[in-house]
């Protein structure tokens, strides 16, 4: 296992380097640069001002030189400062990452718990009224874009019934508190969880149906074991193995955020930060965020594989 772990970690290094080079190249190839963010075409344009801004951000240097400078600093844990706000990139990412983790983990945890529970429920009742109804609803949940359900929820719960706030992470009138944050979290996390509920319900249902019809479950039933024992000791644990994979693959979502929900609920997360960074050609921020996201994806994949080995005794890593 340790050898496997070491091999995977070593293999991750060239992948990470390749990701940074690709992202940097793509940003370089895109038209415009951060100077365009400072020069509003509706205000008088000045070539001198444009040049001054380019020199200030080092954009007058060749691209390879800038990349090497960035990479050298990144290896020392220095990701530079945002071109737009001047804040250290890692500080910005840290703050927004925390906000995104709060939102996405709440949505995902709720979605996984409810989705898996519903998936087990309908998996044991194939073709029943509940199965048909919830499966249909899951299609709606998967198909409905988050920004539509978000706008609908805002209209109903915020404008019409005035139950929940329209956005933000806290009230502007009171001191910050856990309760206040939870209150602001309910609606955006609830909307985001709909997609997870639908997805995990579908996966769990499918997995349950596969396992229920397998030989060893049929043998357990034939042996006279109680139905409850057959379900909870033999069926459900095995049905959850593919679900673990799905959870692992969803981990990167925790850090990339949800740009639509963040925008309409004014939740300052990684999604909107990335959008602002790309729109403003904020190279240090783009590079910093992509490095963090790449690290998370690589780490999540590794953890998923390791978890598989722990859960399934048939899987061994050398």
């Amino acid at each position: 296992m340790l050898k496997y772990l070491a091999r995977r970690l070593l293999a991750s290094i060239p992948v990470l380097i390749a990701v940074t080079i690709i992202i940097f190249t793509l940003v370089e190839l895109a038209p415009g640069d951060v100077a365009d963010r400072y020069i509003n075409p509706e205000i008088s344009y000045s070539e001198e001002a444009l040049q001054a801004i380019r020199e200030r951000f080092g954009l007058d240097q060749p691209a390879p030189v800038r990349y090497i400078k960035w990479a050298t600093n990144a290896l020392q844990g220095e990701m530079g400062r945002s071109y737009i706000s001047g804040e250290p990139v890692l500080t910005m990412i840290g703050r927004r990452l925390g906000n995104s983790l709060l939102l996405m983990s709440t949505a995902m945890a709720f979605g996984v718990l409810v989705g898996v529970a519903l998936g087990v429920f309908v998996g044991l009742r194939q073709y029943s009224f509940w199965d048909v109804s919830l499966t249909t609803l899951s299609f709606v949940g998967i198909s409905l874009p988050a920004f539509i359900s978000g706008i609908l929820a805002l209209y109903l719960f915020t404008i019409h019934w005035r139950i929940f706030p329209s956005g933000g992470m806290r009230s502007v009138h009171t001191a910050p508190s856990v309760g206040d944050t939870v209150y602001h979290l309910i609606l955006p996390a609830g909307i985001l969880s709909l997609g997870y509920i639908a997805t995990f319900m579908r996966y769990t249902r499918f997995s349950m149906l596969e396992v229920i019809n397998s030989d060893y479950v049929r043998t357990a039933t034939a042996k006279g074991l109680k139905r409850r024992t057959v379900i909870w000791r033999h069926t459900v644990p095995n049905a959850l193995l593919p679900v673990i994979t799905m959870i692992g693959l969803s981990v990167p979502n925790l850090v990339v955020g949800a740009v639509f929900i963040e925008t309409i609920f004014s939740w300052p997360g990684m999604g909107t930060l990335y959008l602002d960074a790309v729109g403003g050609r904020d190279v240090p921020l783009i590079m910093g965020m992509n490095t963090v996201i790449a690290l998370v994806v690589l780490g999540a994949n590794l953890l998923t594989d390791l978890a598989y080995g722990l859960v399934d005794p048939r899987i061994r890593y050398d």
Binding site: A30, P31, G32, D33, A35, D36, Y38, I39, N40, P41, E42, I43, S44, Y45, S46, E47, A49, L50, A52, I53, R56, R81, S85, G86, E87, R95, R96, N99, L154, Y155, T158, I159, R162, P165, S166, G167, G168, M169, R170, V172, H173, E262, T263, I264, F265, S266, P268, T272, G279, R281
Partner: protein, 535 residues
Amino acid sequence: MKKLLIFVTALAMLLALPASALAQGGGGTLVGGFDVGPGGLSQTHPWIQTAGNTWLIKIWSPLVSYNEDISGLAPQLATEWSSNDDSTVWTFNLREGVVWHDGEPFTADDVRFTFEFVLSPGSTATAPVGMAGIKTLLGAEAFSAGEAESIEGINVIDDLTIELTLAVPDPRFPYKLVEAYILPEHAIDFPPEDIATAEWWFSTPIGTGPFMHDEFVRDQFWAVVPNPNYWNGAPKLDRLINRYFEDETAATLALEAGEIQFTYVSGDVALRLAENDNYVIYQGPSGVTNYLIFNMREERFQDVRVRQAFLYAIDREAIAEIVLGGTATVVPCLAAYPAMWPEEYNDYAYNPDLARQLLEEAGWSQDEPIEIVTYYDSQFHADAMAAMQQFLADVGIETVPRVDAEGYNSYFYTGEGWSISYRGLGHTAGSYPFQYYETGGYPDAVGDAKTLSGASYPELDELIAQARSEADPDAYMGLLQDICAFQNENAIEGSLWTAIRFAATTNDVQDFYWFPGPAGGPYEDHAELWTVAAE
């Protein structure tokens, strides 16, 4: 009798309470999206700002700002200003009795300090308008290069008088100071290299504005409280909060949910809210003129009949009224404000037959559709461009719109890579973009004229030269009108319309004022008078 006396006393106290409360604040808390929409810029600060001035002037003050409707200037830290005959030496008399938020007195030394601070070698100040103004000070260039100990053109006469000498004459110099916020020499604790990044701006800012810093929560809001020493009287509000929104839709939803009392709103939202008694709508010209600019380096656009045909072919009034829902006003030239229009001009009223005739006379032909490139990516402009495309097609001009929001600046100003562009230009009388039109104004542009369009007009050059040096405000306005008349008669551009911009407050907000100033102004909005009625 005793009971009556008690009753009258109690009643008198009750009636006196609101008045006394208002005298000490008591005007409630106003929460708004002050950086929503054009002119707003979240979480910016002086000397790097490219917009967001409506909020910044709540905390900091320049020497002068725009007046209420951007038609002129209003005194701020300076109460009077005058120049010598050739507009090279400007004298500013400063307001007496002004103190910084920490109680320290404001003096002319703070003005000197501010300009030298932001022009210091290594300074990271980038605010285009503010920097453009003070860079014209005599000796500023040498100072910024580290070749001088101070700026030769700054002369502090006494605590309340400062004399600024320019390297070149500029009758409109004060206009260039509206975004030049004055900083406290005694309270700045970071070097010029940290202007762009210092936490001071958001943690312990000191200004002379009507409000003082209270609480800043990054990405969420900025709250300020009244400055009891403000020269126009302590603000009546208890608290003013600028909430940040990623999107104007989110701000509109917050307004309708009752969580905020003010925000910029788009035209369609304004029309809807205007029918609801719970809201008050404010509107004004955006100051940005939308127009079609023809690349005159291409021979096909050099014939004035072709350019006039474009104008006759497009029913601008119909687009403004129907497509844009009445949220735009047709203009005769680049100028967005009627004060800059001549008394008589060609309105180029919709006339497709005349357009076809002009095109025929000019021998118009095209092998492929002409691309009209723009950086606007909003539905407002997409609708307008679609309508224009149809009108032009009706007279035989085939066009195709192309949106290039990110890369536009990288090629447009060189004069290459575009044939026609749909764009906007914001300006005031004091910031007229002469360099766009005068020969040699864009040295890096291709072609001999070195203008934005590639065309050169000697008569226009003469008018611009006169306007640049004209110090008398009335005569200057007359010259701007003459420039407008020339632009209109020669259709040097396809001037279209200026958008009307809107904002909304809930009906409990009183004595409020808002105007769509370019980059948010700053303009005189009398924020010290705003109140929110108690429920």
